[in-house]
């Protein structure tokens, strides 16, 4: 059953069948304030968004969770969720039902794709507050790799990508698979970026945030590494917005959170929050 991770239809089917009945009452805004705690779900091991360092949870999403809780006048209880086979499953585990092994759902979950079709098939939650535009980018040692060239020119170079990701499929699957033998696989996009800054690879295809944070952290060692400016030929992902999810019946909380992120976007707080990690804040398309 290994490939269950590669399927995404099944979870939707399970939801549609109503085999996984809803459980707890929502914790809308008033309840959160009364309890004095906002439980925020972030992904486990998702640098630069949320990861553990020195026994502490850090990252863009963790800081954002703290900022939102602070503005609501409550304490943030940030919980790490192990990603399941699809983001659809994650909404079930993290927001509206809880995990099979007892994971308590959050009041709000961060890093949720803000996409009309995705939202339509996950009607147990409300997806709100789009706060960033994700996209993939290529970075590499300027001298070693013709960064602006055709991918076929990267033959024989050391390429890095996260296992089982769109960058992975692009590099090993496109152009007749001519680059397959050149791709080294890493457990995360961030680790693939570190391979380049650490001299183990010549170029990496990863998310822009992963690349920017990795280069920022490498400091001087990253000085020769540049990002490709032109689009990648036949690359299918135009990027996607990320937002937050609350239970379908927690819209009061959703509205409050959306108001906070909108303010943070306009008053420069969001930009500053991202800048601390070396990441250029890019507003979501949907935030218009």
């Amino acid at each position: 059953m290994l490939s269950r991770r590669a399927w995404m239809g099944g979870a939707g089917a399970a939801l549609a069948l109503g085999l996984l009945p809803g459980r707890s009452e929502a914790a809308p805004l008033a309840k959160v304030k009364a309890l004095g705690t906002l439980r925020v779900v972030v992904y486990k091991d998702n640098r630069p968004w949320s990861w553990e360092e020195g026994g502490k949870l850090v990252g863009l999403d963790v800081d954002l969770a703290q900022a939102i809780a602070g503005k609501l006048g409550v304490r943030a209880d940030v919980a790490e969720l192990v990603a399941d086979e699809s983001a659809d499953d994650d909404l079930r585990n993290g927001v509206w039902k809880g995990g099979l092994l007892g994971f308590t759902p959050g009041d709000v979950m961060l890093h949720v794709p803000f996409d009309r079709s995705f939202a339509a098939r996950n009607d147990q939650v409300a997806i709100v507050a789009p706060y960033y535009r994700e996209s993939f980018a290529l970075a590499g040692l300027g001298g070693a790799v013709p960064l602006e060239g055709m991918p076929t020119e990267w033959r024989g170079r050391r390429l890095a990508a996260e296992l089982d990701s769109i960058p992975d499929f692009y590099l090993i699957g496109s152009f007749g698979g001519v680059l397959t033998k050149d791709v080294a696989h890493y457990p995360t996009g961030s680790a693939a970026v570190d391979a380049v800054t650490g001299g183990k690879a010549d170029a990496v295809l990863a998310s822009r945030a992963q690349i920017e944070e990795g280069l920022h952290r490498a400091g001087e060692r990253a000085s020769r590494i540049a990002l490709r400016k032109g689009p990648l030929p036949a690359f299918t992902s135009p990027g996607w917005d990320i937002g937050m999810a609350v239970k379908e019946n927690s819209r009061t909380l959703g509205d409050a959170v959306e108001e906070i992120t909108t303010t943070m976007a306009t008053n420069g707080e969001m930009k500053a929050l991202f800048a601390r990690y070396g990441v250029t804040w890019t507003p979501a398309n949907a935030a218009g």
Partner: protein, 579 residues
């Protein structure tokens, strides 16, 4: 001549020593008892009712003439709120029935009354993500220990009389996506296990551990390029690096051995099936991808692979190859042969020469196989290219129909082999799937190229079918059709009977020669466990677990209509004839 005699003598010496030491340890089943399990009718000591897993008992007190009178002796609940799929096979020894339950629990019930003696609940971390329900398929018994695997990829040995932990070992890291649900196999004082896991990056392996301590003896990864170990030392690479894999994909090649294995004392070989390759989309990994979707014969002393046979080369359908390989002897074309049989997820029933893995035959045991049109004499499938799911990014929106569906012509549920009729009884399913590229997919909050699928019925009147297969001719001798998919194991007996359960909640008995249904009993929830039989106080007993769940309700698609009214449960049911 000197060599064998010397070895035989030293064997005797070792036996004497072991026997001399025996009174010091709590008594219980020995290695020899486990090897003799198929013949000892007063107990059920191994998963499969014998290391060869024939699931056949010579008992005939309950038979096709009187089974219609069979009644429950008692039932025992697993209790609590943790009622999900109960896929276990009971172990019966010394007046105790041992069963494992959902959420990695182990129970000891009095075999005469059903009263609970003790219960062990594994403390599971909440970060585990079991792919296909929180099932467990059974325990293994040896000496004073009862041993089972847990969802967080640990192996736990308990004192069989008290339920107290003797040892508890991690067999893989659950944080890397590993899990364990299969019943362990015990051979020559070693606990032999496979591994399971849903995460991309998992590599299948077979491990042997000391039954007394849980310490690793050998480790054998099943993907070419990975180094095996024996007693902490390197012990040779599996296969040949990059022979059938490109780039570094072998490092995360899949092949999880999630269903465990069988052992043949006759050839002294372990047989383990391996899972599907990763990544899922086959277009990204050209080549046969050895040894995924294969049966491996492994030397129990060293963990070295003696032969392999790949049932689905370059698997692109998630067929896996984990199904049990059952050793049996038969005369083929006038020649007595040592054979083995496997009913594969891919819809074909394979017969191989178990001494060397040579292909003898492959015959369809399901209604339809869209991926291949039979096998050639060399044992390679005649692949139908249009039946392969599309490459990512290609044919967006275009759907391919594939049959069997990825849940397989036969999934985990074990078949039985009757030494009386010479037939294999296969719990099979007739179903297909539509599969397409799903452009709007997300994983861990990031855009992803997923596949959408829906499982579909292919017959009006059934999905499940219990089929009697003649391994010599490849012909189906009889079949019993069931509306819902079959998901439980099979038992055959010397009483001309075949038993299996249904999701509708029945345990059923059939005439082994004709397939005529002779008896059924409603257990109150779906039956997805494997039945057993034994003799106790001069009477024959039959036991099975009841409790609906497993992968079908999670992935059922439109076939879910066939089981939408089935309730969850968790109970052991024991039957006998009235006095």
């Amino acid at each position: 001549m000197k060599g064998p005699i010397m070895r035989a003598l030293s064997g005797v010496a070792a036996m004497t020593l072991a026997m001399g030491a025996a009174p010091l340890v709590a008594q219980g089943p020995t290695d020899a008892d486990l090897m003799n399990d198929a013949k000892s009718t007063g107990d059920v000591l191994t998963y499969g009712m014998g290391p060869q897993a024939h699931r056949f008992s010579t008992l005939n007190a309950i038979n096709s003439g009187n089974v219609s009178k069979m009644v429950p002796a008692f039932s025992a609940s697993l209790g609590g709120e943790k009622q999900r799929g109960q896929e276990a096979q009971p172990i019966v020894y010394d007046g105790i029935i041992y069963v494992t339950g959902s959420y990695s629990r182990l129970f000891a019930f009095d075999a005469r009354t059903g009263e609970e003696k003790w219960q062990y609940d594994a403390r599971l971390p909440d970060g585990i993500m079991p792919c296909c329900d929180v099932v467990n398929r059974g325990a293994a018994i040896h000496g004073d220990k009862i041993i089972f695997a847990t969802l967080d990829a640990r192996l736990v040995a308990l004192n069989r009389l008290t339920g107290k932990v003797i040892w508890n070992k991690q067999i893989a890291d659950y944080k890397e996506g590993y899990s364990a649900t299969a019943a362990p196999l015990i051979v020559r004082g070693m606990v032999i296990t496979g591994n399971s896991g849903g995460e991309f990056g998992v590599v299948g392996a077979v491990d042997a551990r000391d039954v007394n301590t849980g310490e690793l003896i050998w480790h054998r990864p099943v993907i070419e390029g990975h180094m095996g170990t024996l007693k902490g030392q390197d012990n040779g690479v599996t296969g040949k690096l990059n022979a059938t894999w490109q780039g570094d994909l072998w490092k995360s090649g899949g092949g999880a051995t999630w269903l465990g294995g069988t052992y043949d004392p006759d050839t002294n070989l372990l047989f383990f099936g391996t899972g599907n390759p990763a990544p899922w989309n086959s277009h990204l990994r050209p080549g046969d991808n050895l040894y995924t979707a294969s049966t491996l014969a492994i030397d129990p002393e060293t963990g070295v692979i003696k032969w392999h046979y790949q049932t689905t080369p370059h698997d692109g359908w998630d067929f896996d190859g984990v199904n049990e390989f059952i050793p049996f002897d038969a005369t083929i074309n006038g020649k007595p042969m040592k054979l083995g049989a496997k009913a594969d997820r891919n819809g074909y029933f394979f017969v191989l020469d178990r001494t060397n893995g040579k292909f003898i035959s492959a015959n369809k045991f399901v209604m339809q196989t869209t991926w291949a049109n039979g096998f050639n004499k060399a044992g390679k499938p005649n692949v139908i290219p249009e039946g392969r799911p599309p490459a990512p990014g290609e044919g967006k929106g275009k759907s391919v129909f594939a049959s069997p569906s990825f849940l397989g012509g036969k999934n985990w549920m074990p078949m039985a082999y009757s030494q009386d009729t010479g037939l294999f009884y296969i719990p099979s399913n007739d179903w297909g799937m539509d599969i397409w590229n799903e452009p709007i997919a997300y994983k861990k909050g990031a855009a992803y190229l997923g596949a959408g699928f829906t499982i579909k019925s292919i017959a009006e009147d059934h999905i499940g079918a219990l089929r009697a297969m003649d391994p010599k001719t490849g012909k189906i001798v009889w079949e019993y059709k069931n509306k819902a998919p079959l998901w439980g194991g099979v038992l055959s007996t010397g009483g001309n009977l075949v038993f299996t359960g249904t999701p509708e909640g029945y345990l059923k008995a059939f005439d082994a020669k004709t397939g005529q249904e002779l008896w059924k009993f409603q257990t109150g929830s779906g039956v997805v466990g494997s039945p057993v039989t034994w003799e106790q106080d001069g009477e024959q007993y039959v036991a099975v677990m009841s409790g609906w769940g497993g992968a079908v309700p999670l992935w059922g698609g439109e076939v879910a209509k066939s089981f939408k009214d089935i309730n969850q449960g968790g109970a052991l049911w024991v039957f006998k004839l009235p006095k």
